[in-house]
Amino acid sequence: MLWEVDISVIDAAADHAARAAVAGAAELGIPGCTHARTATGWLIEGDLSQADVERIAATLLADPVTEAFTLADLGSSSAAEKLCRGPAGLADGNLPTVVHVLPKAGVTDPAALSVQEALALLGLSPATVRSVRKIWLPKLDTATAERLAWKLLASEAIHDVVVGPLSLRTLAGGRPWVYTEASVTLEGLDETALATLSRKRCLALSPAELSAVREHYRTLGRDPLEIELETIAQTWSEHCCHKTLGSPVDYLGPDGPIRYDNLLKETVFAATHAVRQALGPRDWCVSVFRDNSGVVRFDGDHDICVKVETHNHPSALEPYGGAATGLGGVIRDVLGTGLGAKPVASLDVFCVGPADTPAADLPPGVIPPRRLLAGVVGGVRDYGNRMGIPTIAGAVVFDPGYLCNPLVFCGTVGIMPRNSADATVQPGDLVVVAGGRTGRDGIHGATFSSVELSSDSETQSGGSVQIGHAIHEKTLTDFVLEASRQRLFSAITDCGAGGLSSAVGEMGAHLGATIDLDKVPLKYDGLSATEVWISEAQERMVLAVPPADWARLARVAAEEGVEATAIGTFTGSGRLVLRWQGKTAGDLACTFLHDGRPKQRLKARHVARRELAATWPEETDSPAAFTAALVAILAAPDVASKEWIIRQYDHEVQGCSVVKPLLGPGGGPADGTVVRGVLGRDRGIVLGVGLRHRLGLLDPWQMAAGGIIEAVANAVAAGADPARIALLDNFCWGECRREESLGTLVEACRACHDVAISLGAPFVSGKDSLNNVFAWTDASGSPRELSIPPTLLATAVGQVEDVKRVVTPDLKTAGSRLAIVGLTCDDTAGSQLEVVGRVRGGRVPMVDAAVCRDTFAVIAAAQRAGLVAACHDCSDGGLLAAVAEMAIGGAAGATIDLAAVPAEVPVGAGRDLTLAFAESPGRFICEVPAAAVAGFQTLLAGHRWGWIGTVTEDTTLTVTASSGQEIARVAVERLADAWRSRR
């Protein structure tokens, strides 16, 4: 019998979902939606009596104080009337339209699973449950009601929308799959036919790659089986093997041709190698570019590991689910490093289109940026908060280039006991899958993220979107960490892109394995062997378990309530053998799978860029224009407070956060954020991020270099030791097949190489996401394409010896002096000053990495000597935005004299705006207490720096122009209001 139970709050004023729907309807211009009511519905199918269902509703589903419920058997004649007349039977004749939003069959429904599991506590027989959201609205025609639901409540990738009564009579799923052997004919196909085959099967393999597969199978005298071809496609995907970045590249640079045999190895990896060589016995890297995350030394007992991932394509289709599983995936990367690490902090960075993009300017299928951002924030919030991992660092930037291809970066830091970074699978180890069950979730995620999005992706690729279940991952984490403590497995990896095929394939790359696919626990019947093998169902880990430890491991799993199943053995045969009910269903040679991919030599070319001389609006250096620029910059989307996001994230769980994203009595912004590595110990981990995407199209070398400098400056401002900073790279590029566009990627790689070596900061891990291109046909029928700007996200992971000695940006004491360290140039291109329309063009900010290295060293020395009470790096908005943020955080005021800024800025129009807002890299503002002035001055000898002002009790920011005239006098409260003006 299929029952429906609806739960709704009794007090209409507390119905938030209804409030949101009314507001949303107004935004969509749907008239007459002045009020609404909502309910959470539960569809429950099982052998249950009315009394049973009433008990479920009263004791499990409804709050006895604030909620009411109504229920009916959906097969009964009165059901429709009962369930549709208003929330929990509170008949309201003014709300005749009822809309249901429910997850599509097969989409993970965590709340329903929780109800299902709780039924056992009530002593009831098992039942199947699905959740449904219901909303009652004033009279609307079906099409309008559907439009409202799709725009506000539902996502096409994962939901069904039903207006009016539900006609559903059963939740029953599919039937068990019966084995059928399916092979794929490649013989006789020309290049076009191979390309078609690849696209139709969503393989993302090039004709050259498919030819290599054909060649291989020709020597075997047969066609590849479907499951074998899928395995190859997953393993060879851009997502899994850096297809482009790892390629041989002929690059024609400004100084002549350069030949790379493997671009990534000869740039980013090579820099790390050089830094480690130079450190010699003091090398503090442990495991780099090898495991699921990069591992470095922390204290005498621990190493830390770190990874930053992108989850762009799934988030473009289903922001909430995409971002949640992005975070879930990177957490599993940390959990799956070495013998398992404990996740201690996360970060997130979002690049999206301008929030105010008019609906008419959105290409078909593109989710409006505001809704997208709300969705990705919600995904990170619900996953991170439930996992109990503080999300403490991040950034959000807005740029038209990200309208169709938003970027979603999620990163996690973990801590592990020393000597557990190395994990080796032994022949004979059991292949154990632990965690969530396998469904059709995310089939083709790996190959999908390697192809371009198009306007019909939303319908085409729905299967690629996964929904996370954070509590399954939390229990999985508890289980893995306990099993790791008892050393019950010899290696571990996460099931991410490519699912079991990638996880088992990688772990058994040398040994080979035999897998019984029919033993994999399923969410529902009907999955074929291939689907089981490549499903990207979330919250699963694969462990290599010595047979002698299996019983103990299984006991730990049972104690933590985690399902763990042995599905095969790592054999040592060098073959990946897949079986179904004992019969061989696929058999691949590991050597071909991992080394058989034909490498194509790519061509890349440098294009000389034209620099645009700065042009200034008529009224430039007047006090009014100057103040207006300052206020506009603080309110600019990239700079403005992200408090509305930060407060939704639990950034204090685990009790270790020491420098939080918002701090000081005024709640100003932090630079780097800091957590203790181990509760009760004083050594800290510092996180900084840098992103200079606005320079991506102007100069990709400077874009990448500037991003790295910004990330490191963030960490150093907070007190990180500049000699202990690990870097991560995330390359996100648009189209890279043309020589000049691939050239931009090469230049960014070269910047990573040069800057890392100059700073002595090794890259330890990274990830790339290429082909962020969106294709559509516009209203006039012409094909259009939008590519993201070349974007490198740099992440710096620093360390501070004693968290009690960190430094924060909020101003502390009236009477302290303010210093700027670092040289200011006329670097206005790509600046926030340009974003707010106060200048056009200008010089591209130039990184001199050697000077930056010296600046970082002297800032760290001044902090160590106790000479710095507050420190903030100058990034978006330059010097004056930095000072304003320091004043907001400290609830204090300051005077600034622009004439005292050490600068190379030509005299003429825009000089004061340039001094105040240019974004020259590698500069810091320091608050120096009166007693430390002499010491600071001595220490800084030989550096480009200057005293530029004082901290004042009066909460006003006063600025003197280079002419000596006062150019601004603004209440800090007004600046704070501007900074907090956006949501």
Binding site: H16, D63, S114, E117, A118, N385, R386, G655
Partner: protein, 255 residues
Amino acid sequence: MLSPRAMILRAPGTNCDHETAHAFERAGAISRRVHVRALALKPALADDFQILCIPGGFSYGDDIASGRIFALELKTRLAETLLKFRDRGGLILGICNGFQVLLQTGLLLADPTGAPQATLAHNFSGEFVDRWVHLRAQPGKCIFLSGLETPFDLPVAHGEGRFVTRSAADLTRLEAAGQLVLRYAPDAAGLSTNPNGAAADVAGVCDESGRVFGLMPHPERFIDATQHPAWHGRLDGASSGAGLALFTSAVKAVS
């Protein structure tokens, strides 16, 4: 004499267990994290403890409502164990999700029929919020708050923390009985710091005995000065935070 023992009772989705155990240890207790499955299998485990704490987190995902399934599990499998623990003088503390659980089990604020007189509903904003609040205690008989007469700061982090009673009369009665022992207080500028719209600014309540206490703010997140968002340059980084006193009071009371 022997240190008192604190059981940190966890369920799938509990995520503040480590720092809560750490806070009790800092206060002088010996802490043990115990999975509710293990306790259900062997309820006699509780006999070795003087303090039982249900920490924060998202037990069983909190997908239906915060603490609902964990509370149901305690009611169906461990009701007797918990009552016995309380009645023999044990102290019971619920923090955030643990507070939600205590209310729903009826260990806090149940009427004589066992029905809850109050609940913790969705924040009025409809959103999860992590921020610091100003608090004022009226400890009365509440053992955990004893001595905490001056106002102090703690962080909150929850989506469902709005204290609501069944009726206005219930609120008046609880107030008169001295059970509304912890309230959100105005900040230095006189602005309310009530983060969720709780009735009468209630942040924490105790039972009639004063030995069972639940609160939404997280005392375990302010046992060191460095956990405060404005500590740098203003508090001694080596000093302790206001939340530690709450654990110390409990540990002293059972020592």
